[in-house]
């Protein structure tokens, strides 16, 4: 027998395979003089908790992670290049598919960039509608996130389905307004596509009003749970220097205690007219990242109630806005918003033709992912999936 099966593992290092790689067996031990025997596990791209076709190559010492390599690109769709060969309007439905959980905010970021490029004004009502949609999207995204986070933590789908119950209501609203649940394609350059009816607004207002009740129930269920605390507190710590240096944004950055919210900093749209607070974490661990989402949802509810109160009447589309044959003047623009996952930006260069000359997305999911190894080192496999869950990535946006 050429294989030496003396130990528990099929530690076969017989003849190398035809292409120089190790031959055959699936279980292969990696030897490392500092850690003893290591096990290399390729988690994904088909794995229940990598949130899509994401892959982590984890090197384990027992259950502890000594090395983690994120691998992505399995969902690359060439979005940026396609957009350079499509009209400005034609890219709008593609942006739905970037962060497919929050198409409304992604739409807005793109519309913002194009409006900046062309100097296109937006009527007041449309600005308010955009904020309503963006905050509803934030509720939707964060509900999803906390649900999935608990699934990564090992619940049998119960919190996830409670979260999905609420998400469903928001999706129904989106569907009745824009015609599609997730691929809303709602924003246009210079306004919005459809004006919501009073009934719709009433339904949305009631939803926002009832949302804290769901949050209370949700928090009562698991926020104080001892297992939950033990599984999340102190796990995946990220200090603020690291987070800033890596360019992280969104709740992940704020959980590390950095006060950075594009809504406050840029004041894009009509956000300066709203009264809301930005929660900040102190430890930068998974629990803080989870709580950031919960607290942001509560703030979103506040923004929504103000928006429904102050929503002005008027057109939803700038009358001068062009739909067909749209050609912005030559120049460049960067439009960014605080998407639920972080700073989402679109960088556009126009040469005056109907297609953008250069089109680039700054995806928060991808950039927040860069510190995954940093956060996971020294923790166990079980923690790695939780940390990944707490970063909140959508592979459509990571791979583009």
């Amino acid at each position: 027998m050429s294989t030496s099966q003396v130990s528990g593992f099929n530690t076969q290092v017989s003849a190398p395979g035809p292409f120089g790689g190790p031959a055959g067996p699936t279980v292969r031990a990696v030897h490392d003089q500092f850690h003893g025997d290591l096990l290399e596990v390729s988690m994904g791209p088909q794995h229940p908790s990598t949130h899509g076709v994401f892959r982590m190559v984890v090197t384990l010492d027992g259950e502890q992670i000594v090395k983690l390599k994120p691998v992505f690109g399995y969902l690359h769709r060439n979005h940026e290049k396609i957009a350079e060969n499509t009209s400005y309007l034609g890219s709008m439905p593609y942006t739905d598919r970037l962060d497919y959980l929050c198409s409304m905010s992604t739409n807005w970021a793109y519309a913002l960039a194009v409006e900046k490029l062309d100097g296109q004004p937006v009527p007041d009502r449309a600005q308010y509608l955009r904020i309503i949609m963006a905050e509803l999207t934030r509720l939707l995204n964060h509900s999803c996130l906390v649900g999935f986070l608990f699934n990564d933590l090992g619940t049998s789908f119960t919190p996830l389905l409670y979260a999905f119950r609420e998400r469903e209501k928001i999706l129904d609203l989106f569907e009745s307004l824009s015609g599609s649940r997730m691929m809303c394609n709602y924003q246009r350059f210079g306004g919005c596509r459809v004006d919501p009816s009073p009934e719709w607004l009433e339904a949305a207002r009631r939803l926002a009003e009832n949302y804290p009740r769901f949050l209370d129930e949700y928090e009562a269920m698991l926020t104080g749970n001892e297992i939950m605390l033990a599984r999340t507190q102190g796990i995946g710590r990220l200090n603020s220097t690291h987070a800033i240096n890596a360019g992280l944004t969104g709740p992940v950055l704020r959980a590390s205690g950095v006060d950075y919210d594009v809504r406050k900093i840029d004041g894009y749209g009509v956000y300066p007219r709203f009264d809301f607070r930005v929660p900040l974490g102190a430890h930068g661990d998974t629990y803080d990242r989870y709580m950031m989402r919960i607290l942001e949802m509560r703030e979103s509810v506040k923004i929504l109630s103000q928006a429904f109160r102050d929503l002005p009447a008027g057109p939803i589309m700038d009358p001068k806005a062009k739909l067909r044959g749209f050609r912005p003047k030559a120049g460049e623009a960067y439009g960014r918003i605080e998407s639920p996952k972080g700073e989402l930006g679109f960088y556009l260069i126009s040469d005056g033709s109907p297609n953008p000359y250069r089109y680039r997305v700054r995806p928060p999911s991808l950039i927040n992912l860069t510190l995954l190894e940093e956060m996971c080192l020294g923790h166990t496999v079980a923690d790695a999936v939780v940390i990944l869950g707490s970063i909140d990535i959508v592979l459509g946006e990571v791979d583009r």
Binding site: G24, P25, E63, T158, N225, L229, H283
Partner: protein, 407 residues
């Protein structure tokens, strides 16, 4: 014995068996006697397993505000849905007809042996459980010891499954299963020791009989209604959850990390066997819990004795299983180090204290009048104070936080 304990319903199953046996020639009678018992246990708990799966799916669905499986009816009858109750049989047909895939590099023999061993041993545990008055398959002097001995082999099978699959996830699951078994066998057994101490026997039948008294007719003398019994019961439940790999201790098959753990490379019939063994294990441990702590087949009140004993047993068993399902629908999974820490730093010391507590209970058995109150108070204190203190130290550093907002 009240007359109710000798009612027709009570005796019916046994008399049916005897009636069937008498048709056979004399030398075969004892064999038939035992065969009928075995077949009856297999049939009852096979069906029970089938309905546990559907009950679990339906209850979990309701906990999650869903409907659960409600489609499967009977074949060739359209429109008949039966609330989906035939779902397990459809599942069985599905798993049995699936292709059995064995990985190319797997250790074929162990891969095959693991599900067989796990089912065999989990079924063996049923032999010493008293399902009703005079309904116990095998009467053993050392029944409890037998139960734990048979139960110990199941995690071994999980290890075999995980190791032989030659899959990294399965291997990690195998390691976890070993760690879990080593950690939780001890508190499980220690939680039972007080019962043995007080009842003075290892025989399950005798333990049930010890609990068959009532104070003024409606306060049953079940062990769970004593301070040490309650503590033992809680430790037992936690350890039983861990032993049967149920949430929140389902680490060997932690879906979010290890895909399906030791079951990753199993399909078809072998997977079904594992699934079955898991539920058998759960049922057996619940049944043991019922036997030891909840009075076994005894009725809770004297005037309810007209309901046959085996029905009481089933009722309590169902109650336990529903509780396990409820826990599964709520809690999240521990990490492996937390799991072992919980066992060694919390459950084992508590269980040891509880043994001392039971000893005190036995020694103070003759205390009467106001001393009785003292006895209860001391017994409670011995358990509650360490629970609070050790609970504090276990969760030290973990607390809900308050957050500041940016100005």
């Amino acid at each position: 014995m009240s007359p109710a304990s000798d009612s027709y319903l009570e005796r019916a199953p046994l008399e049916l068996r005897d009636w069937l046996v008498q048709f056979l020639p004399e030398p075969l009678q004892w064999l038939a006697h035992h065969l009928i018992t075995v077949v009856a246990v297999l049939a009852v708990f096979g069906t029970f397993f089938a309905f546990t799966t559907i009950a679990e799916r339906k209850l979990l669905a309701r906990l999650q505000n869903r409907l659960g499986p409600n489609r499967s009816g009977l074949p060739w009858i359209k429109g008949l849905k039966l609330w989906g109750l035939t779902q397990p049989f459809a599942d069985a047909v599905k798993t049995l007809t699936k292709e059995d895939i064995v990985p190319a590099t797997a250790d074929k023999w162990l891969h095959f042996l693991a599900p067989v061993i796990v089912v065999a041993f989990s079924l063996m545990t049923f032999a010493v459980l008293p399902f009703g008055r005079n309904m116990i398959p095998v009467e053993l002097n050392a029944a409890l010891l037998y139960f734990f001995a048979a139960g110990a082999a199941t995690e071994l099978a999980i290890f075999m499954a995980g190791w032989s699959s030659r899959n990294k996830y399965s291997l990690l699951a195998a390691m976890r299963a070993l760690a879990q078994l080593i950690s939780y066998e001890l508190p499980l057994i220690l939680s039972v020791v007080p019962i043995v101490l007080v009842a003075g026997t290892l025989s399950t039948k005798a333990i049930v009989l010890t609990q068959g008294y009532w104070t003024s007719g409606f306060l049953p003398h079940w062990f769970v209604f004593t301070p040490w019994g309650l503590a033992g019961f809680l430790i037992f439940i936690v350890a039983a959850l861990a032993e049967s790999n149920r949430s929140p201790f389902d680490l060997p098959e932690a879906e979010s990390e290890l895909i399906a753990g030791h079951l990753t490379e199993y399909s078809g019939f072998k997977y079904a066997l594992f699934f079955m063994a898991e539920y058998f294990g759960l049922t057996a441990l619940s049944a043991l819990g019922v036997t030891l702590f909840l009075g076994g087949w005894q009725a809770p009140c004297v005037f309810l004795e007209f309901i046959p004993s085996y029905l009481w047993f089933m009722l309590k068993l169902i109650g336990m299983i529903v509780f396990f399902i409820w826990v599964r629908g709520t809690l999240l999974r521990l990490r492996i180090d937390q799991l072992t820490r919980l066992a060694w730093k919390f459950l084992v010391p508590l269980a040891l204290l509880n043994v001392g507590n039971a000893a005190f209970w036995v020694l103070s058995a003759h205390w009467a009048g106001p001393l009785q109150l003292v006895r209860w108070a001391v017994s409670f204190a011995v358990i509650v104070i360490p629970f609070v203190i050790m609970g504090r130290s276990l969760t030290a550093g973990f607390a809900p936080r308050t957050y500041r907002y940016a100005s």
